[in-house]
Structures are given as structure tokens and as C-alpha cells.
Amino acid sequence: MRLKDLIESLKDFWFEYRRQKIGLVGLALLIFFLGMALLAPLVAPAEASRRWGDLLYWKDYPKAAKPGWVKWFSSKKIPEHTILTDYNMSRRAIGAKLTELEFTFDYLFEYDEPHTEIILKYDQNLSKESAPPTLIVTFQRPDGYVLELLSIKAHETGGSARLRISSEQSLINSVKSFSRKFESQELMNKLGKEFFSPMIPLFSKAQEGMISPELSEPLRGKYRITVTFYLNNPEDVVENVTVILGGKLYGVLGTDVYRRDLFVGIVWGSRVSLAIGIITSVLMVAAGIFYGVTSAYLGGYKDEIMQRIYEIFSSIPVLPILIMIGAVYRLTIWKTIGILMLFGWMGGSRVARSMAFQIKEMEYVDAARAMGASSWWIIRKHILPQIIPYAFASMALSVPGNVLLEAGLSFLGLGDLTRVTWGRILHDAQANAATINGLWWWVLPPGLSIALLGLGFAFIGSALNTVLFPKMRRI
């Protein structure tokens, strides 16, 4: 076929396909997911996918935060995850060597609920002989009260330091004694012990009920957090000080209980699903068609034997076997594709066989044979061109099944652990009882992605069937 003819027939095809509404929807879905997979590095580096299971990588994210857009539907103003990097710095020499380095962060708090945690990060570069600096963190509230949250010897070694201030005992003690001045004895006895959560009184009006999640009223206004370092050597450097106020809202899709950004997981996970779905389906259908055509062409007892083999393989349920192999040997996505191929190669071979049988009996094939055409020539020129359109539809239609199989495997925790997949996100959600705790944003997007990706291919396959096999349109 010449290039011009090819373009012409593609144009014809597109003219027909364009009129299939579901085909267009399917195409849109496919482009959406392909774009997602291609643009994944723009959303997050590949490291995010590789280190999905490494919780250290995700430690600066909020815990189990809802998606950011929830704020538009919520009657309450829910605190967002806030990272403060703008500070005023002042440097003052106190003694011959002792230097005071002060970073002040101003923050306007306007939410109805308190932040969930405070994290302090900074980089330090200490000269070898100097002792570690002393670190003091103070917290000034809009009502004028000033709390000293922390006063400790800072991180000893150089490099980056990171402190979850809100879980330091000194902060808890300081907030407790502050609350005791205003809070009723009864509530203090009830909530002031192991269930005490210091973040509530920190951001609440100083009055009775301030330590209770239900009774406390938010104190809106300007807060000032001051981080002071007392350096023991004027040459020591502390920089890049960051204060993170943990929120209950984050990003496009929120985070899970391990603080992982679910949007990153969904975007990177699309690569695995697409790869498994497309590669497996293409290989499977190609193998199936080869098998079917061969079987039809050989005919006789050879065909009979091949059909018996087909029947045996096609009634072996794949998932239980995949689960079995996955539990004993660790599966990567390539091994998964291999096993899917091993048990699913006959996809499409039945139809290919019966089509080949029909075509074989045609008069023009007889004519070709009479003119001395070889079997291979007949298969190539007469049989394959008619089967290939069917192959495309069949490939598209077998994608959802393969995507589901991989997702099911990952859901059981038996998938590829070197990267994030949609099934794996759902596995973690199930393992942490996300369903019965109502963490819908953890469960909904991965499953919806699986379903929509499958739906896209099902739509495309169904539209292809209608366009390429007009006979079926009646049905």
C-alpha cells in the first residue's frame, strides 16, 4: 500500500469514527491519561514514585489531608497546609563569641480549625570546634500572650535539621501550663492527660473549653513565630529556616495517613496501568491472531489439537494463579506482563480462526492458489488485511481486563513495589481501613482512574467495532 492510499484510508476511517460519540469520549479519556503519564515528571520527580514506600521522603506533607478543593464545599474554613519561608532575620553579637540569630515569621491565621502540627526545618553549617547552638522558639498570639515553645540544644551535626516541634515534650508542657490558667479543672482532668493535643489551645481563644476540640473557639489574627539561635561561634551559619504549619487540606487530591501526596501517586501510577494495559493487550492479541490463523490454515487434526489446547488455556482463571506466583516470587511489572501473556495469549484467537476459515473458502483465495500463490502469500495478502481491523478493536477491548488484573494484584500487595500503582494506593487504603474511617479521597481517585482508563479503551473498542464491522451496527 502506498503512503497516499494509507493517508486516504485513514481519512476515511476518521470521517466514520468521528461520528461515534462514545468513540470520541474514549479517545478523549485515552489522551487525558496519556498526557498524565507523559507529564508525570512535571508534577513530581521520578524519585517520588520510586520512593513511594519510603516514608521519610514524604515527612513534610500533612497527614491524611483532604483535597484542597474541599474548601469550596465546606461551611467551615478548614486550615490549609502552610509552609512559611518568608522571615525577617536579625543578627546580634552578645558576647565575644556568642551570636544571637533571630528569625521572625508573621502569619495571619483565618481558619475555623487549628493547624495540626508545627514543623521546623533549617540548614546549619557549624565550624568544627564550635558547640551546637541553642535553639529557642517563641509563639506570640494575636491576644498578646507569648509562649516559649521550645528551648533546646540544637541539632548537633551539620547539615539539614528537622524538628516536629508540636510533638516535643517541652511544647506540650508549655501549652499545658498556659491552658491551665484559663481552662476549667474538669476539662483539664478529662483532656489534659494522654489525649491532650497542644495545637487546639495554641490557636484558640484563651477561655474555658480551649483544649476541647468541640468547645474551643478559633483565635483569628496575626501570629508571630520567632526562632532564635544562639550560636557559639560567629562563623557558624544557620539558614533556610522554614516553619510548616500542618493543615487538613492539601493539593489536588489530598494526602494519605502516611503523608503521601495522592496526586503524585495517581499521576505516576497512570504509567504502570497504561504500560500493562497496552503492552499486554497488543502482545496478547497479536499472539492470539497468529495462533488462530495458523490453526485455521493448518486445518484438520492439527486444528483440532490446537483448539483443545486453546480450550484448556482459556478456562484457567488467571488471577488466582497470578496471586499464587506473586506471593511466592516478587513480581515486577515486566514479570507480570510475562505471566499475563503466558495465560492470556489466546485472546482473540477464536474469532481470528473463524474469520480465517471463512476467508480461506472464498473463491478469490482459490483463484490465488490456482495461480500458484504460496500459503504465506495468501495469509499476508488476503487474510491478515481483513483481520487486522478486528485486531485493533480486540486490543482496545482487552485493555480493561488487563488493567483490572494488575490493579487486583497490586491491591493484594503483590504488585511491583519499586513504583507506585493505583492498585497499591488502594492496598494501603484498605490496609489502613480508609473505608470504614471515611477517608474517601484516598479510595475514590485510584479506583475511578482504573475504571475511567478501562472505560476509555472499552469505548474506543466498541466504536471501532461499529466503524469497522458495519454489519454489527444493526445489533
Binding site: 488466582p320 487486583g408 473505608t435 475504571a451
Partner: protein, 357 residues
Amino acid sequence: MKISSYLVLRLVNALLVLTIALLISALVFNKLADQQMRSMIREIVKGELQSNPELLRSLQKNSTALKIWMEERTKYYMSVYGLDKPLWYRVFHRVVQQLKFDFGSSSTMISASGSSRVSDIILEALPRTILLFTTGTIFVIILGLLLGMKAAQMAGSTLDKSISIFALLSYSLPMWWTGMLFIIIFAYYLRIVPSGGMMSAPPPEGLLAKIGDVLYHLALPVATYVFVSFGGWSYVTRNVVLSNLQEDFVMAARAKGLPERKVLYGHVLRASAPPIVTMIIGSLLGSLGGAMISEIVFNWPGMGRLYWNALNQFDIPVLMGNTTISMILFLASLVLMDITYIILDPRVRVGAMRVQR
């Protein structure tokens, strides 16, 4: 070929499939089983030595004698448990054992009644799975047939189109994820059904209350199963019925003045039954995996969850027994479907039938 010989062929085929599936599982689990048995033998030999103080004393003086004695005993037990035999023999032996329903006893799991016999454990889980999926299937059949007939009657209508689209959607919908979603909606937000399990803890008194409790727990898994499956069913029914509606015998029936209901359910559905039944085979195959994972999501103590638990504990006898029984059930339903096909389609000549399939 006669129908009886065709059936025999199908049965032989089923047996072959069963053997192959068992061979694969025996091969996969062989490594694990070996490790387990070796450590068991080590324990036995050690125990033997400990329980025989005289022998222990005499052997402790001489370290080479102890070594030789240990090796001898280990060798003895290796031959008792067949570990000295080649790989193919052991795999083959295990498959034959399974085919003879000789499941043995489990390595760690026990049934609720305290038995560690694999057959007891499986017999406990099996009825629960059957209960769940037959209940679901009955609903799916009724709903699927009714909706499919309706859609075929009103081909091109909104109902028809939405059923087609819903069928494609449910084709790519993971059953287990739908289950998770339903748990969030119906168990967490609406709180009208429990989130999992088969009975409340503690179970209520009295038989009637107990049945009610099980039904209450059954509702959500069955609803999930039906939700995911009925779309495909109605779509298949619709397609088959629609192609039959254009046949001459329908026109003849209508011309005779038969009421439309009788035409549809008496004539068209009768003629459409065989292909519909054939289609189920595919959907059965497809939903098996999803159904298995769904049991885990709903914490339903059936065969799927048993398989999963056994896998987590590497309880190989239970895994093998479970595979055998599940495969037999599955293959039996395939054969049953074939028989139904023959009964439903009086025209059946096996040769013609094979082309249709």
C-alpha cells in the same frame, strides 16, 4: 459426534484443565513446601535427640558420631516425607493426592470448630461463598434479563443507550473497588449496613435472628456484585434478543395475534437463551478474580478470603486444597453451562455449536 461423547470430551477437558492448574500450583509452591518440610524434619530430629537422654549422653562425647547420627535421622525422615525423590515426582505426587481428595492436614490454620483437617476448613468456607454468589447471581439474572428485554424492545431509547454505556462502564469497574466505595457510602456515611464480616459479634440468639443477621451482612456484598454484573448481562441479553426480534418466527408469532409479552418471553427469550448462556461462561471467568478480592474487602469468610489468609500464612495444604475445590466448582459450572446449552438448543449439532462459540 453424539451429544454423550461430546459431554465426555468436555469432562476430559475439564479434568485436564484441573490437572494443569494443580500442576502449576504444585510447582509454584514446591519451593516453599520444601523449606517448610526441611525445618520440620530438623525439629523432629532435634526432638528425638532431646527425648532420649541415653543417646544424647553417648553422642555428646563424640561430635562426629553426633553428626553422623543427625545426618542419618534426617535422611531417614527425608525419605519418609519423600524429599529425596526428584522434583517432578514430588510435584506429580502432590497433584495425584489432590485429585484423590486427599488434602491432609493444614500446617497452621484451623477451622472454627478447631479441626486442622484441610477438608474441614474448606467445607466451612465453601457454603459461605456459594451463599454469597448464588444469591448475587440470581439477582443479576433476573435484573439482567428484564432490563435487557426492555432495552431490546425500546432499542435506541435513552434507557437502551444508558444500559449500553453502563455495561461498558461496569466492564472496566473493579468489583472490589466498588465494594470499598459502597462501604464508604452505605456503611460509613449512611450507616444502614455493616462494613464487613458475616455475623455480628456476638451473634444474636435464635435461628431466625441468626439468619436475619447473616442476610443483613450479606446485603452490601450482594449489592456490589449485582451492581457490577447486571449491566453486562442486560447488554448481552439486549444484543441477542434484538437480533432475534428481526427473525421471521417473531413476525409469525405477532401475526398470529399473540400478546407481545408472550412473543417476548415465550418465543424470543426461548430462542435467545443458548447464546446468552454461552456469554455467561466468559463473564464467570472474568468475575472470578474480582469476586475473590471482594471477599477480602468485605471480610466475608469464604473461599476467596481463605485463599488469601492461607497465602499470608503460607499454609500450603490449605492453598492446594482450596485451589482444587475452587477449580472443580468452576469447571463444573462450565460443564453445567454446556449441558444447559444442549438442553436449551434442540438444534444442537456439536459441530455447528463449536462454530457459534
